[in-house]
């Protein structure tokens, strides 16, 4: 976790208004283990479309991000009993899909779940004080776009890149200093022959550059993406019809994977349909499809390229959903 995140907790706690969610009824989380997909002609295609629509590669490494360190969720803005229920639910869901969980009570929070009646004010504060929590951005225009609240439950992902030698760099945090490299220059007319110590060199000066160790392979470059910190903001006033357990499952999905929240109903049954406009009878718990996706994500080869990772997930999901049986 980035330095300064402890203080974000205080900021988030101050910014959130414990409101209507306090009165939301608590419901024990249902466990969804059986996978049934009915009424879909081509499950194989539906799975491919689902993965294609949902999976988001990180901006720096271009891979699917997932938790490598144990998750440690913290909830603010609701009653203590709801805090307990939501924290346990996210941890349980993580454990069920193979994501690492930090079991210590005093763990350093890396997933912050905030219920607030003023989500945009909270995001404005994050933009001003902790912009790295918005996720990777190149400039202020991108940061402003990222900091715009669009959904009643929305998530922001700070990711890190893990290179071949295990060096972890938080995406978007620019290192100070200037990197200089002396690159050998091919002799005129030379056909790429052996360079000697007498070969001419050119010095390249790169401010803020980072060194990342890679294999050089196209399908597996030895680099992977991890979550560094996730912020999930919930506006309870817009979710009065949903039970706390349902919200908890939606939150758990956002906490465990970086997904594109769908603008329209998904063909496969997924809890993401809860907030997609015009979805009749959306699921009230994580579905078999959601769990299959998460399980596949936490089994995927972390260093494979994005398309390879997508293919692995589709294969695993097809297997769990019985599409190829």
């Amino acid at each position: 976790m980035m330095p300064g995140c402890r203080s974000v907790l205080a900021l988030l706690a101050l910014a959130c208004a414990p409101a209507t969610a306090q009165n939301a009824p608590a419901r024990p989380a249902a466990t969804t283990e059986n996978v049934t997909v009915t009424g879909i002609k081509d499950v194989d295609k539906a799975v491919t479309d689902f993965v294609g629509a949902m999976a988001v590669p990180t901006r720096v490494a271009g891979k699917l991000a997932r938790w490598r360190t144990g998750i440690c969720p913290i909830v603010a803005g609701v009653r203590p009993e709801a805090v307990k229920l939501l924290t346990k639910l996210v941890r349980d869901r993580a454990a069920a899909v193979g994501a690492p969980v930090n079991d210590r009570d005093s763990c350093k929070p890396n997933i912050e779940i905030v219920f607030t009646t003023t989500p945009q004010a909270l995001l404005d504060t994050i933009f001003i004080k902790y912009p790295h929590l918005l996720g990777y951005h190149d400039n202020s225009a991108q940061a402003t776009k990222l900091a715009t609240v669009k959904w009643p439950i929305q998530s922001w992902y700070s990711t890190a890149t893990d290179d071949l030698r295990g060096n972890v760099l938080v995406d978007g945090i620019k290192p100070g200093g200037v990197l200089t490299l002396d690159m050998p220059v091919a002799a005129p007319g030379g056909g790429g022959g052996m360079q000697t110590s007498a070969s001419p060199t050119v010095t390249m000066t790169m401010p803020g550059a980072q060194i990342v160790n890679v294999t050089g392979g196209r399908f597996n470059d030895g680099v992977s993406s991890d979550f560094n910190h996730v912020v999930i903001v919930v506006e309870p006033a817009k979710l009065l019809d949903s039970e706390l357990g349902t919200l908890g499952d939606y939150i758990a999905l956002l906490a465990l994977t970086q997904i594109e929240q769908p603008e329209h109903c998904q063909e496969l049954p997924t809890i993401l349909n809860l907030l997609a406009p015009g979805c009749p009878a959306p699921p009230k718990t994580l579905t078999g499809v959601d769990l299959a996706y998460l399980r596949a994500l936490y089994k995927v080869t972390p260093t494979a390229n994005f398309h390879g990772q997508q293919r692995e997930i589709i294969y695993q999901m097809d297997k769990s959903l019985g599409a190829k049986e």
Binding site: D124, F127, I128, N139, S140, T144
Partner: protein, 112 residues
């Protein structure tokens, strides 16, 4: 002599360049105008109830602009977001509505 001054200039140029390149605009009340990705710094301000000054506060112009849009400022100690006392809040008439032993009530503001 001429050669020596060239060497000095070259050495000085190399040493000074990084510091010069990182120099930021300074304003006592940054309003966020200009390049949104450029940094503007506010010089140290006296800490309330103290003879000491707080730190210099440097933010991107886009961050200063959002603060001003929301009628906010950064506290003298550089830690908190506070109401902007220099903004035109004089035109607002705020009253506390409701509230009691168990609730804090609600602030309502109207422009005069």
């Amino acid at each position: 002599m001429a050669q020596r001054s060239w060497i000095l200039a070259a050495v000085f140029g190399v040493l000074i360049l990084p510091a010069w390149a990182q120099e930021h605009a300074v304003s006592t009340h940054p309003d966020g105008t200009g390049d949104p990705d450029a940094t503007t710094c506010r010089p140290p301000q006296p800490l309330p109830g103290s003879r000491m000054s707080g730190p210099q506060v440097c933010k991107l112009n886009s961050q200063w602009a959002l603060l001003r849009k929301n009628g906010q400022d950064i506290s003298a100690d550089g830690r908190d977001i506070i109401a902007d006392t220099k903004a035109g809040s004089a035109g607002m008439n705020c009253t506390m509505m409701g509230g009691g032993a168990s609730s804090a009530g609600q602030m309502q503001c109207r422009s005069q």
